[in-house]
Subunit: 215 residues, 2 copies
């Protein structure tokens, strides 16, 4: 069956262009085109797409907000962001909103078709420039300092589990309940975790857990 694509794009010319590209490609059908995201719930029900081609710059509701809504309410639908902008903030927001791909409007029709197929199959097409920005942002926010090889902490699976629960904000009693073990046992595990992590408090442990991505 064809991949059903819904297009959200305020510019009439581009909207029609995308529609033509989709319908002109075997295996892809444009099930609906919209010029804004008003009443998006109703629009999505009507279009029932596999892939959404989403413009960022739109009146009333921008594509990023719309993406957030779609990710929440239609988690199976893949969202392919399309924009003229290349700035980090937009890229960052779109990705955090849960977009599956991010391509520039300068992308060729052939590449657009490729991208639609890729998102549909679980991949994440990105324009080369976007991809490099994503990696840069990733390196910037990476919670680890890659140099320190010495610090490798080996926690047992139970210890990792308990550390995770600590990061989630549980106190020791709550951890005991959720793990179905006694409070004293939790305390024993926690003490061992502290020893292994070379810390002396829950706060330090969770900070280290996050920064060293132990959880």
């Amino acid at each position: 069956m064809d991949i059903k694509v819904a297009i959200f794009e305020d510019n009439k010319l581009m909207r029609e262009g995308y529609e033509a590209i989709c319908n002109g490609t075997p295996g892809i059908t444009c099930s609906a085109v919209f010029h804004d995201c008003m009443d998006i719930d109703h629009k999505m029900r009507k279009a029932d797409p596999h892939v959404v081609l989403m413009d960022i710059e739109m009146p009333e509701m921008n594509g990023i907000t719309a993406t957030r809504i779609l990710v929440k309410d239609w988690p199976e639908v893949k969202i392919l962001i399309q924009t003229v902008f290349e700035d980090d903030d937009k890229i960052f927001d779109a990705i955090c909103a849960g977009a599956s791909g991010y391509i520039l409007k300068s992308t060729s029709p052939a590449r657009l078709v490729e991208a639609i197929n890729e998102v549909y199959n679980g991949g994440s097409p990105m324009s080369p420039y976007i991809a490099s920005r994503v990696l840069k942002l990733f390196q910037k926010f990476a919670p680890v300092i890659p140099g320190d090889e010495e610090e490798k902490f080996v926690l047992s699976s139970r210890e990792k589990e308990i550390l995770s629960l600590m990061v989630e904000g549980n106190n020791l009693h709550a951890i005991a309940d959720k793990s179905f073990i006694s409070y004293e046992t939790v305390r024993t595990h926690v003490k061992r975790i502290y020893k292994k992590l070379h810390v002396a408090s829950a706060s330090e442990a969770v900070v280290k857990a996050i920064r060293q991505r132990l959880v």
Copy 2:
């Protein structure tokens, strides 16, 4: 002038395959092939490449460690990681090490050539699966959740300062000393921070501080 590529790959067959692909492509020249990363400094000086094709799985020194060294000592050289592995840890480490691209060994020769051109021109080629893993990891580690607008925490500068000290692992007495205020005052601030952040413990506060980028 041709793009000069240096190949680091322990498997003889693949090594020769890559070399043939590079030299068989107009605009690309393989300036050297190596079966390990020993004495990498000398090897790099000899090869003087624009792009390094780096295998992750190698004896003596793995490709990620080598990547770290290259990024530090040859910052202009683009590194294209190539591997059979798809696991998140490897991807994560390679990107943090500073790789410019990450492709699977199952990638076609045509796509490999494309990728070499893309990294050379500042892009970041990634296999679709890798790209989607990167986005997932990105979302996981994204320091802000821009969606929840309700949750914007306005801390006074003093409160932020104290929260930072908490994140650094100081206990309340240490914070008092470092801030030149009394222990009890620190406690008052901390209580207010808890209220504002809707948390009930130091651990929760530091987790929220890190995740919401408050410090």
